[in-house]
Structures are given as C-alpha cells and as structure tokens.
Assembly symmetry: C2
DNA sequence: GACAAGGTAGACAGAGCTGTCTACAAGAGC
DNA sequence: GCTCTTGTAGACAGCTCTGTCTACCTTGTC
C-alpha cells in the first residue's frame, strides 16, 4: 500500500471550495514550508477567489491550524491502518516506514518541520506536535506484548523512529535510515522480532 | 560548562560590523527561524546601516549560508570540547547533551530546523546538514572502543541522539529525552558504559 | 417566493520584504 | 599624498504578503 500523502489527489469535481483550499494548502505547506507558501498561491492553485478563501478561513493562522489538525488525523489513521495490515507486530514498522520514506515528495515529519520554522504563539504547532508524538508512541506501544516494560521500550523505539524520520529526510534515501533503525530495534526488543 | 549558544555574547566594542551582523543573524535565525527573520531586523539589531550590511553580504542567501557554516563549526567545536572535558567516553554524551538541552533558548538542531523550512536550491542547507550529521557521527564514533562494530553502533547512537534532540525540543524539557536516550545507549553498548 | 449559504471577480490598502542608490567621513597602507 | 577599506545615513524602487471591500450570481430549503 503506497500511502497517498498528497491530499490533492482526493479533489474531484464534487469537492467543495473548502476542501480544495485545505488539500491544496496541505500539499504546499508540507512541500515548501508554511512561511514560504503565500495565501495567493493557495488561492490560485485551489481555484477559488480571495473572497471565498476568507469566507472559509478568516486568517492564514487559522488555515495553518486546520492544516496541522488535518495532517495529524490523516497521518495517524494511515499509520495505524498500515501497521494493522502488516500484522500489528513490531516488524510491521519497517514496511510501514519504508512506504512513507519512499512516498512521493517525502520531506520528513510535518510537525518537526513546523516546529522548526514557527516560533511564535500564533499557531497550535507546539501542543499539536506533542499530541502527534504521543499518538505515534501509543501506536507503537500497541505493537508490543503488554508487560511492565512495554511503555518504556515503546518510548525508546519512538525516539529512534524520530531519528530515522530525520535521517531519511536529509539522506534523501530510505534504506540507511531503515537499516540502522532495524538494528536498534533488534537490540532493544529482541524477543519481539 | 554552560555552552554559550548565543553568539551575540561575543560582541564587544572592538567587534567589526561583519561580526556584529553575523552574530546577530545567528541568534535571530536560530531563535525565530530563517524565513521569519527579515534583513531589516538584523540590520537594526546589529547597529549597522543597510549600506554596510550589503557591503559584507551581497544577499540574504549569502548570509544564510555564512550563518550555517558558522553554526556548524561552532557547534562541532563545542561538542568535541565538551565530550573531551567529560572524559571522552560514551558517558560523556549525557552531561554534554544535558548542558545543550538546558541552554538558554534551546530550540533543537539548527540544521534540522533549517531543512524543515527551506526547500529550495538557494542555500546550502542540504549539503551542510549532511556534513554536520557526519561530523556528529564521527565525534560519537571516537568515544567508542575501535573494534569492527564501532561504526555500526555509532550510527545507531547518532540516530537516537537526533531523536533525543527533537524530543527535548518539543517537550521543552531535557530530562525525559535524556533518560530515554540513556536507556537506549545502555542497551546498544552495554560494555562501554 | 424569500432567504441563507456558498460562490465569482477583482480592486485596493497597508505593511513588510529584499536590494539599490547617492553623498559623505575617517583611518590604514603604499 | 593618494587610494582603498570600512563605515554612516537614509531615501527609494519594486515586489510580495495578508486581509478588506463592493457588487453580483446560483442553488437548495423552508
């Protein structure tokens, strides 16, 4: 299952203006950065007028927040679904992350990237990043046998996964990051793999 | 040793205009993001005129590149010095990272953040990030006993360190990231700690 | 049939951005 | 003594950005 992380693929003739705006913003924000993406570009690429845009999103900050919430839900849903499809064992992490790292225009974690460029209090970037990483940790925890150490091991694995997300991003190549991650997890949780 | 990651502390009356510009840009770029920091703010805060600024840096992109190179050299020099002061063993990582994570206005890795917001070919962000992470890996490798597995283990530890850098950033707290990192490293390299 | 919701079309304001320009001054090195 | 470097001071051009405004249209619902 190749993940479709380009939201614009979902746009059809029946899509509302609000959907076209949000999906277009998602792709542009993720791909080029939030600060680098102007409202005018989103407006023209989503084929709405300025009036329509501001009717749905009263400010760019509101659009950013909506984008982050949408991205969070979409990503976690895909992550859980993919882990489940691959057997809901720890080993399901590798094909899942491999698919993501190889997806078109992969550019790392939207929330890590967002935290890097936004350092003001105008958006929800910090709370939603915490929420996102907690959800990811929880998904990983569910792959482990529930014993007293599971939370601890899951935290370690989640931290290593974040390292791998970053490495796949600057390597622009999925294989080294995945290989090193496998070695880490094989050592941290040898019984589970 | 508290690291002084605010470059402006170095500015004295004897500092040249170029130094004042670079150190001011360093602090503002790291703290508020590169895109969010305008030339005018750097100019006014470094107490030079626009003419002087453009005499030294013919464009903002050139200043960004200079900032990234300066940051890379400064950070790696500090990292190696701190590891050495703490005994050049793997355990030297913890006090070193602890100092960094607790430093004033800690906001993660300047290169990870930069990659998140810059996705164009106008700067050296991608090559210098690779270079930076290779240098960090090399410093970590030097802490290990040189046997055939050292490179491999060092890669795993470096990936976990990147995860910890990110976690300390969004937790806005150094302790959980450090504790989990310790657990990972204790498992990956039990003989060395 | 009235009305609300959602849409088109585009001018405009006001701010911020990068980068250029002219004119002048002080000190160091050849 | 002349020239080069480094600096001050600030106006200005030209662009992009977010957000507002007026005027008009279509469609579904009560």
């Amino acid at each position: 299952m190749k993940p479709t992380f380009t939201a614009r693929e979902q746009i059809t003739d029946a899509s509302s203006a609000r959907e076209r705006i949000l999906y277009t913003a998602h792709d542009l924000f993720y791909q080029n950065g939030i600060k680098s993406t102007g409202i005018d570009k989103i407006i023209s690429e989503s084929r709405v007028t300025k009036t329509t845009f501001y009717r749905h999103f009263s400010s760019k900050d509101l659009l950013i927040d909506t984008y982050l919430e949408y991205r969070h839900e979409k990503w976690i849903a895909w992550f859980n679904e993919s882990l489940s499809k691959h057997g809901s064992q720890l080993s399901a992490l590798y094909p899942t992350l491999s698919d993501w790292f190889q997806s078109t225009n992969y550019r790392g974690c939207a929330f890590i990237n967002g935290m890097g460029e936004l350092n003001d209090n105008t958006t929800i970037i910090n709370p939603i990043t915490t929420q996102h990483k907690e959800a990811m940790l929880n998904s990983i925890k569910n792959l482990l046998n529930a014993d007293r150490a599971a939370t601890n091991i899951a935290q370690q694995i989640a931290m290593a996964v974040d390292g791998a997300i970053i490495k796949a991003q600057f390597d622009q190549c999925h294989q080294p990051a995945l290989n090193i991650l496998k070695q880490i997890i094989n050592t941290l949780a040898p019984a589970e793999t």
